[in-house]
Symmetry: C2
Subunit: 421 residues, 2 copies
Amino acid sequence: MIDLQPVKGTRDFFPEEMRLRNWLFEVWRSVSVQSGFEEYDTCVLEHEDLYIRKAGDEISKQLFSFEDKSGRRLSLRPEMTPSLARLVLQHNKSLSFPIKWFSMPQCFRYERMTKGRRREHFQWNADIIGQPEMVAEAEILMLLISACESMGLTANEFQVFINDRRILNAILTQINVPVELHSTVLVILDKRDKISAKDLGEMLEDAGLSAKQVGQLNEFLSESDLNELKENLTDTTGIEQLQHLMELMDTAGYSGYLKFDISIVRGLSYYTGAVFEVNSPEKKHRAICGGGRYDSLLSTFGGETVPAVGFGFGDVVVLDVLQELNRFPELQKKLDYTIIPFASEQVGIALKIASELRMKGSVVDCNFSMKKMKKSMRQANESGAAKAILLFPEELSEDKVVIRDLQLHEQKPVKISDLIS
Amino acid sequence: MIDLQPVKGTRDFFPEEMRLRNWLFEVWRSVSVQSGFEEYDTCVLEHEDLYIRKAGDEISKQLFSFEDKSGRRLSLRPEMTPSLARLVLQHNKSLSFPIKWFSMPQCFRYERMTKGRRREHFQWNADIIGQPEMVAEAEILMLLISACESMGLTANEFQVFINDRRILNAILTQINVPVELHSTVLVILDKRDKISAKDLGEMLEDAGLSAKQVGQLNEFLSESDLNELKENLTDTTGIEQLQHLMELMDTAGYSGYLKFDISIVRGLSYYTGAVFEVNSPEKKHRAICGGGRYDSLLSTFGGETVPAVGFGFGDVVVLDVLQELNRFPELQKKLDYTIIPFASEQVGIALKIASELRMKGSVVDCNFSMKKMKKSMRQANESGAAKAILLFPEELSEDKVVIRDLQLHEQKPVKISDLIS
């Protein structure tokens, strides 16, 4: 007997789960298209070196990597942004910026499994490339918010927690952390929620900070008010940009969705500006989605500097959240007609009626189980069909069928030519 | 500089290509749903042993396989049928047969690249499981035919070439080939179109046939008429079943789509009954799709015998065929509105109008490039938008915007409250 389970950490989608996935994808796709984003995709297989970065990102250590039959080092993509950067660099000359693109790739990470974490997930990505102004962040956040609302979350059930890497960098500069250490320090800070203050302090000291710097850093990171922070910082660019974004969102009608949160860092080393996460207001889940500005990723790949903002929004956490809130949509299999012959000579005519009705746009199935009336009617009721078409010999001899309304429990004979004309 | 190209044999989908892929997927999905099929999916990663078969199928030699960090042997799926069989065996007890399922997985094979062959493709799969009668073949072929027609192929541009493994087995039995050699001989026969008669003969002799048997086999395989073949065979089950299927298809209104072709074998060893391919009537392409009945696959995986019929329909060959016929659909990016502010103070109000219009169901983009009127109008025309919303300071001071119809080249001021109410 073969192993009937999927590979550890991966999922099967039986029709019921697939309907839910399709519903989610359709929300993602339709809000994206409505907001002027265009869909793209790349292959789940990429060259491994697309993901090897120096700042010690966890992602580089969790790759599903292997060597193909010609010795190429390949990886299953752990995230979409590097592939997007590759596409943009490939067609740099012919694209007219800014571009607004989205995708819904399956991504793979080999990691310990916990709630909300599997070894694969589908991750909606939306990015605006080529827009240096904060209006790109505003558009991206509006898209995120309308997606959450389209999924059935109400304004008091989610919150966008936002910060800016420039604020974090200004703090590090202010306490004299050399600029070449910033990325590494930020990757460590991203773990702050998951490890003890003591462990965090040790990791920061291992990375090169003094005990005094760790103390100063902790003091800055306890600040929750943007204006107070502004008074204590020399470089206030990040704060001013974030305040500008919040004003824009207010004007656009999105007051109250954004909340400044200095603990938002994001684990990827390539972010350069705004960084954000969506979570419940009490932050009781893993982040539902996260993203930010990454103006230098394309240049680290060898291209010019191209400003970029985007997010990744996985399917696993949000479905857990919706399930907890009992907010799953009703997604039953539905048919317009189920056609039921009662003898094998009627199979051909059943197929013919099915074919004609489908050409007219109806959703039609046939039941060839050749059961007796009572069993057939039970199967018809379970099929999700609105109506059953019953092929009785008597009516068929007059070129008629009996149509039964499965809600009203009413039936009447109808000429086949009328039904399919 | 990183390598900007995708992994050899794999594709990038820029928005233009993605629109075409989405169009194809939508054809596949909508004909499937209309015919009562339900969608499922599994992960692209499977345990390697799902694909290791004894009959020397090429597919086992073309796997993208590797070992994960825990030493599991994993493969990227080369085809969907084994995963489907796994799902069915997993839920054997709770499924009510027959089931009609479809999927659109990406599949991977490490092979030499030729026209119509890459190392990945998307492959629409539709299967009926649990129906032993030929009506399952009829339903599957009707689905295939309606898909081809929905893609824009006319009845004289494609043909279903059909055969039955039981006919081939009857021939092999008739010429005294031992039954345990049948699978291996059939995998060899599948190569008949691609290699010389001499090479074929040598391969058959290597597999254990005598020169006399090879001669007898070739004689049988030159037969194109079902009835003549029937007269020369002892076991005529396969022929009778195929004739029954053809009658069913005639009654259902699909005369002329099917053509008996004894050279259709299919390369997979698990087929047990009907086998078919779609191609142009002159067979000038690789097969557009192929499939058949595989009643014993589930039992070889350790389950009970469950009758099953299905096909795989790749995206690469059919798109080549449609392109050759100049039959690609028009798929432009389309917007209802493009909103154009001319100064940075108007960005917030532009976002607000965009948001309100989207909530009403419109597809809306904004142009924040802040160009002068002439350049902005050129960009509006290129954006795919039906109308432009122009934010001029004078009208804005009266809470109005100017709406310009980009087809009619007419414009008029409109109160913002009227536009978004």
